[in-house]
């Protein structure tokens, strides 16, 4: 069988039925093989977007995404998506074409050393040197991308090798790699110690991250937290793992988190970090982060333990396997829930004093926060929401109120503007029966706006709610607050006309500039049978609060 056809068989054997990509010279054999393969290829308009769509697909479905690009510029266009998947631990297999083996190293047409370029931003990568390796590499790539701490794997396939004849039999046993054996169970002794420490804690906080969602451990998390009314906060990436309408929910923590979440971390005596990595957007000034706390850290990646913050009780394992054991050990101790009364009354006082709030706008003015609340109303709080990066992302995280996992898809670690629209396309392909909305900003959306063509041509009815303030809003906010209002490169001006632009792409375009019409216009956008964009003119100079200024401590929040 031709190696390119064996690649398709291997992909099918891994359960793949959707691929996002763009063809070119070096991956012509692969694209020839796609035609007969029993899977859907979604033709993106830029390889970066193909990569983000594969990420969105992975986030929404819990499966491994697949993105294809050709050699040279096709491959380098994938780099941002690869880096994004690495930072947010998203399982995606990237397959790039490479020039013929006799041209490698000669600076051939569309040659780029993509394996070399991406070394620091992949979980693993492989350059095929023997045609028979192609399907083997695909199976190994899926194993590595999807197990342990998930991440991107790159398979670089020279054009000539994918045309060779090879023999391929689908593997009958799981992939085994000598240098890769993630530890999933968690050390029982450590789990017991953690339970006993927790039972002695007077001011505990549960700090969760995206790892809970990757581990499909939302139910386990809810059971664990219910064991003793533990207060729960989450990073941006973990939103939805714990329901935002639960009384134990403190809101998001970190730079734009709630005061109650950040103050609770500041005064906690014991913090249980679950699938979270103590990013600088969470810790602020490291030396003043949670100064009174000891740390339990549960994570599948041993290298995250004590990387940024020294941990007292490390538990390396799959969160979904560790949490039930921790819950059982904790329940066996039969603690007295009333010992947390004092802690809860302190937290409740913060919640009363510092709710998330904003100044109401003048008549007809659309406040960005109100726009998120309107989106919650019209979607019933149950849509898959993707976002880009900036103020609109933080407001969505603050005000949408996610109650389920895999409903919130955004670029957290890398902070990639231009992520939201392609990610929404991927999510909609993965979950065609769910409402999928990209809540974007005007600075971000234009960075991959060409994907409206993908949505229209491929008949993927995503909706875009554009929070249009005419600025690179978060940068403008920082220039206002920390650079003496010396605005530089942040005014987006009047171009483009988003309604005309949408219509030029063949999507529906709508505009709303009066708060009285907002719900109705949003509903009309959702009701449209096909891709649609609603350009919402929000207050241009609204700032996103509360905020921990970069490098400051949680108790020094402003706004």
């Amino acid at each position: 069988m031709r190696a390119a056809d064996a690649m398709m068989e291997a992909l099918r054997a891994e359960g793949v039925d959707h691929i996002f990509g763009i063809p070119g010279g070096a991956n012509l054999p692969t694209y020839d093989a796609i035609v007969g393969a029993d899977l859907r290829h979604v033709q993106a308009r830029h390889e970066q977007a193909a990569g983000h769509a594969a990420e969105g697909y992975a986030w929404a479905s819990g499966r491994t995404g697949v993105a294809f690009g050709t050699s040279g510029p096709g491959a380098t266009n994938l780099v941002t998506a690869i880096a994004d998947a690495m930072m947010d631990s998203v399982p995606v297999v990237f397959v790039t074409g490479q020039v013929r083996t006799d041209l490698i190293g000669t600076d051939g047409f569309q040659e780029a050393d993509i394996v070399g370029i991406t070394l620091p931003i992949v979980k693993h990568s492989v350059m095929i040197t023997d045609a028979a390796q192609i399907p083997v590499a695909i199976h190994e790539a899926f194993h590595i991308a999807s197990t342990g701490r998930p991440g991107p794997v790159l398979v670089d396939v020279p054009q000539d090798l994918s045309k060779e004849e090879i023999t391929y039999e689908p593997p009958t046993s799981p992939v085994e790699l000598a240098g890769y054996r993630p530890n999933t169970e968690g050390n029982s002794k450590q789990i017991r110690i953690a339970a006993k420490a927790l039972a002695n804690s007077k001011r505990p906080v549960i700090y969760t991250g995206g790892g809970v969602i990757k581990a499909e451990a939302s139910a386990e998390l809810r059971e664990f937290c219910a064991a003793d009314r533990f207060p729960v906060t989450s990073t941006l990436m973990g939103l939805g793992a714990f329901p935002s309408d639960d009384p134990a929910w403190l809101g998001m923590l970190g730079m734009h988190g709630t005061r109650s979440a950040n103050y609770s971390m500041d005064e906690a005596d014991l913090i249980v970090a679950i699938g979270a990595r103590f990013d600088d957007r969470i810790t602020g000034k490291l030396s003043e982060f949670a100064p009174n706390a000891k740390f339990i850290h549960i994570d599948i990646d041993p290298a995250e333990i004590s990387k940024n913050v020294p941990v007292h009780i490390p538990i390396v394992g799959d969160v979904a396997k560790v949490l039930p054991k921790l819950t059982r050990e904790y329940q066996a101790l039969q603690t007295d829930p009333s010992r947390l009364d004092g802690w809860w009354s302190r937290i409740n006082a913060w919640q009363d004093e510092y709710p998330l709030t904003y100044e109401p706008g003048s008549e007809g003015e659309i406040k960005p926060q109100a726009m998120i609340q309107a989106m919650h109303r019209v979607t019933g709080g149950d849509a898959i929401i993707t976002s880009d990066v900036g103020q609109h992302q933080m407001w969505t995280a603050q005000y949408y109120g996610f109650n389920k996992p895999r409903r919130w898809i955004n670029s957290g670690g890398l902070g990639t503007m231009g992520y939201g629209l392609p990610a929404a396309i991927g999510a909609k392909v993965a979950c065609p029966d769910e409402q999928v909305v990209c809540l974007s900003g005007d600075g971000s959306l234009i960075m991959n706006v060409q994907e409206l063509a993908t949505a229209v041509n491929e008949d993927i009815p995503v909706k875009v709610f554009l929070m249009n303030n005419g600025f690179m809003g978060m940068v403008r906010q920082w220039q206002e607050l920390f650079w003496d209002g010396n605005y530089s490169g942040v005014d987006n001006g009047p171009s483009p006309d988003w309604v005309k632009l949408s219509e030029a792409f063949g999507a529906k375009g709508l505009r709303c500039d009066d708060s009285a019409d907002l719900d109705e216009m949003m509903q009309a956008t959702l009701d449209h049978d096909g891709p649609a964009l609603l350009d919402v003119r929000v207050s241009p100079r609204e700032n996103c609060y509360p905020m921990i200024p970069a490098g400051s401590a949680a108790r020094d929040m402003v706004g």
Binding site: L270, K294, P302, P310
Partner: protein, 179 residues
């Protein structure tokens, strides 16, 4: 329930300390193209500084050994080894215990050797169990094998005689005993 059986929070200790000494890491890797680049790239990306590096085959043709030394006063060695373990091509890492390890470097020194100096250089070489491996009219090349410190000491003895050129390998090491 007696609280005595619980863990007192104030007794909990975090284990993240700098060892303050030199570490020799012996890393077994798959013998494939690009593996050294992955290891070296990891060190530069994470800001870890390699002091010495030696790469070579092992008794198994599919496995190579990278021996590298780094300063545990600057880098948390635990974090270094955990990051290395994340590389799929890395099979095994040993942070070698100094008292249980035999570690050697090799060096070649080209020394300007006027007739009146030669006897003294040869004498030093004998003391350090070094070998004269090349003799020309104006220079000698001396080969010496030994611990990092021994080679440093030998260098300081030779230097006053006019050290023209030198080259040192990275340290290679094996654990003592039969395991």
């Amino acid at each position: 329930m007696g609280t005595s059986e619980l863990i007192r929070l104030e007794d909990l200790q975090a284990s993240r300390t700098l060892s303050g000494r030199k570490h020799v890491l012996s890393i077994l890797v798959e013998n494939r193209p690009g593996v050294l680049a992955r290891v070296a790239g990891l060190f530069s990306r994470r800001g870890f500084n390699i002091d010495t590096l030696a790469v070579g085959p092992t008794d198994d043709a599919n496995v190579s050994r990278i021996t590298l030394t780094l300063d545990g006063a600057v880098h948390p060695i635990d974090q270094v080894t955990k990051q290395l373990h994340k590389l799929i091509n890395v099979l095994k890492i040993r942070d070698m215990e100094p008292s249980e390890t035999v570690a050697r470097e090799m060096a070649l020194f080209k020394v300007s050797a006027a007739v009146e100096n030669r006897a003294e250089i040869v004498q030093f070489a004998e003391i350090f169990r070094a070998k004269i491996v090349d003799v020309s009219r104006r220079a000698l090349i001396v080969e010496v094998t030994g611990s990092h410190d021994k080679i440093g000491a030998f260098e300081s003895m030779l230097r006053p005689h006019g050290l023209l050129e030198m080259v040192r390998t990275g340290e290679v090491a094996l654990t003592r005993g039969g395991d």
